[in-house]
Symmetry: none
Subunit: 355 residues, 2 copies
C-alpha cells in the first residue's frame, strides 16, 4: 500500500498516480517560535532560520545560511530530509518558493522565489499584528494568477511553532478543537502551549471581525494559503495540501471565510496528504479537524514509517517526534504512488544522516 485514506475515496489520489507535480513551499517565520519550549523545529536560538534552511535543503541538498554547521541530525532531523529524499528518487517536476515572511532569504539560484513584501509576523502571545485582509488578498491574487505547468500542486509549509498558531487560529474561529492539534514534540508542551494560547486569545476584542481576529493569532502561511486556495478554486489545477494539522487549519480558515462571506466552495480539486505519524498520533486528531469542514475533502496519509530502519535519529519519528512538515507527508505519498519503494526512501535518508 502506498497510502491510507483518512477521508473521501481513493479516486482523487489514484488519479494523480503517474502525474507531474509542482512543489510550492510556503515559508514563514512567526516570532511565536522564540517562546522557549514551544517548538523543536530547528536549532535552539536559530529557529527563525528553519524555513530558510528547509528551502535550501530541499532545493540543493545544502544548508547554505548556516555557517559552520554541517549536520542536520542534531536531535530530530527536519522532515525536509524526507522531502529531499523523494526529490532525489522521483523528482518533483518543479519547485518554487513562496516567501511569506522569512527573516533570512534562502540562498538559491534558478529556483523561482515569489516575493509578496510580507514581513515575519509577531508573537501571538503579544499579538501577531498581521494585516490579515491584505495578506489574504495577496493569496487570492496569487491563486488566481499562478499558472501551474504540471498536473497538480503540492502545497507545503515550513513555519516553526506553526501548530500553535494553527491551534490558536482554530480556537479564535470558534472551532471545538481541544487536543486536536499536533506538535513537533512527542509529548506536546501542553502547559506552555496553553499559556501562549490564553495570551493569544486575550488579544482578540469582541468587536473584531474575522480578519482582525485572525490577524492577532495566526501566522502568514495560514492566511495567505487560505487566500491561495480560494483564488485557485475555479481553476482546474488540483491542489494537494502537503501537511498535517496546520494544513487542516488552512482549510478551517477557508471554511470560516467562505461562511463569513456568504459563499460556497467547490472543493473537488482539493485534498490533504500527511504522514502516518500525524494520522496515527494519539495526542491530536486530524480527521476530527477535517470533519468540521462544511465541504467534503479528500485526505490521505503516507503508508510509511521507519520500522525497518535502525537509525536512531529516524526512529524518533516512529516514537512521535517531529511528525510532519516541509511537505513530508505529501512528498511521501507522491513518491509511493510513483513507484518509489520504502526501502529506497529509508536507504536515501540513512545516506543523508551518514554524510
Amino acid at each position: 500500500m502506498s497510502y491510507k485514506t483518512i477521508l473521501g475515496t481513493k479516486d482523487f489520489i489514484e488519479f494523480l498516480r503517474g502525474k507531474k507535480a509542482t512543489l510550492l513551499l510556503s515559508l514563514s517565520t512567526t516570532q511565536t517560535c522564540q517562546i522557549e519550549g514551544l517548538t523543536q523545529a530547528g536549532i535552539p536560538g536559530m529557529i527563525y532560520l528553519t524555513p530558510t534552511l528547509d528551502a535550501e535543503f530541499v532545493c540543493t541538498g545544502e544548508l547554505r545560511s548556516l555557517e559552520g554547521v554541517v549536520k542536520t541530525s542534531k536531535g530530530v532531523p527536519t522532515p525536509a530530509l524526507i522531502t529531499r529524499a523523494i526529490h532525489l528518487l522521483h523528482p518533483f517536476s518543479n519547485i518554487e518558493l513562496l516567501d511569506l515572511g522569512m527573516q533570512v532569504k534562502p540562498k538559491v539560484n534558478f529556483f523561482k522565489c515569489h516575493e509578496f513584501d510580507i514581513q515575519p509576523s509577531a508573537s501571538i502571545a503579544t499579538g501577531a499584528n498581521i494585516d490579515a485582509m491584505t495578506l489574504f488578498q495577496k493569496g487570492v491574487e496569487f491563486g488566481k494568477n499562478y499558472e501551474c505547468r504540471d498536473d497538480y500542486i503540492l502545497l507545503a509549509e515550513s513555519v516553526p511553532s506553526g501548530t500553535t498558531t494553527a491551534y490558536a487560529t482554530a480556537k479564535a474561529l470558534g472551532y471545538e478543537c481541544e487536543d486536536k492539534f499536533s506538535s513537533s514534540y512527542k509529548n506536546s508542551p501542553k502547559s506552555i502551549r496553553a499559556t501562549v494560547l490564553q495570551q493569544a486569545l486575550e488579544n482578540i476584542k469582541d468587536k473584531d471581525d474575522l480578519f482582525e481576529k485572525v490577524g492577532e493569532v495566526a501566522d502568514n502561511m495560514l492566511i495567505f494559503n487560505a487566500g491561495l486556495i480560494l483564488g485557485a478554486a475555479y481553476k482546474q489545477t488540483k491542489i494537494v495540501l502537503a501537511g498535517g494539522t496546520q494544513m487542516a487549519c488552512v482549510l478551517l480558515l477557508v471554511n470560516a471565510i467562505v461562511k463569513y462571506m456568504g459563499g460556497s466552495l467547490q472543493s473537488d480539486n482539493l485534498a490533504l496528504c500527511t504522514t502516518s505519524w500525524v494520522h496515527e498520533d494519539e495526542n491530536s486528531d486530524i480527521k476530527a479537524l477535517l470533519e468540521m469542514l462544511d465541504f467534503p475533502i479528500h485526505a490521505y496519509s503516507a503508508d510509511f514509517n521507519f520500522a525497518t530502519s535502525t537509525h536512531p535519529a529516524l526512529k524518533l519519528y516512529d516514537e512521535g517526534e517531529a511528525k510532519e512538515g516541509v511537505g513530508a507527508g505529501g512528498a511521501l505519498v507522491y513518491g509511493l504512488i510513483n513507484g518509489v519503494s520504502k526501502e529506497q526512501i529509508i536507504g536515501t535518508l540513512e545516506t543523508f544522516l551518514k554524510g
Copy 2:
C-alpha cells in the same frame, strides 16, 4: 551523489532535477578522421560512419547502416551505448538530429532530422575548407528559431577525430591549451596529433580573419554549435552542452566570436556536463579550458564509473579509453538526477554487450 561540480554552483543542475529534456544530436564527419591512428571512435576503415551509426543506435537501438556487423563490442564500445541505456531507463522526452555533414544519412523514421545543406568537411591537415561564416549563421538561425517543447536541451555531438579539430581550433584562436584536450585513446596519439596540428595551423594565413582561420582548422559541429548558442542566448531555454573538451571548445569559439564582434554573452542559461573520465583525465584539463572563458559557466561531471562492473569492454572506460561522446556525460547526469541508479545503468549496458 549524482554529479560533481567542475565550475559554478549546484543550483543550475539541481533546478533541472525532474525536468524534461530534448536531446539534440549534432552529427558531422570531418575527413580528418581518416588520418590513421588519430581516433579510435569507430570501425577502422569506416570511421566516417560513426555519427550515422551513433544516431541510429541512440534512436532505435539498431545499427542500420552497417550491414553484416551486429556487435558493437569490438574494441571500445561507443559511448552511444551509455546514452541509449539512459534513454531506456529514463527516456529523453524528444530526440532530434542535426545533420551537420554526414557521409551517410541515418536510417531512422519519425525522428526529426534537421537538414542544413552542409557537406562533410575536409581534413584539417590539408585545410578543412569550411565556409565558416555561412555555417555559423546557419547555427545562429537555428538557435534563434528552434522551439524546444521541453524544459531544456541536451546538446550532444558525434564527430570522430573531433578532439583534434577542437584542439586545432583553440590553438588557432590563440588559447594556451597545450595538453588540455582529451582523446578517445587512453594514450593520446601525441606525435600523430602534433603533426596534424602543425599541418593544420600552417594552412592559416596571417591576414585571415577569425572565421577564415576557423574554416581551415575546425569541424562543422564546432562552428554550427557556436552559432546555435549565440542564436539561442536570449531565449529562456536552458542548454546543457553534453560533452567534454569538444564542447568546451564550442564555448571557447563562442567566447572568441563574442570578443571579435565586440558583444557580450548572457551565459546564465548555459552549462556543460561531461563524464568522470574526462573530468578526471590526467592527459587533459577541461576545467582549465573552461576557466579561459570570459563569461561564467556551470560545469558538472557525472558521478559514474564502471568500478562495480566486471565486463572487460566497459572496464576500458575506467582505464581511460573512449571517455566521452554522443552526449554520454550529459545523459548520465540526466539519468542520475532523475532517480536512475548506477546499478541500473551498468545492468543495461551489460545487457547490450551480451546481445
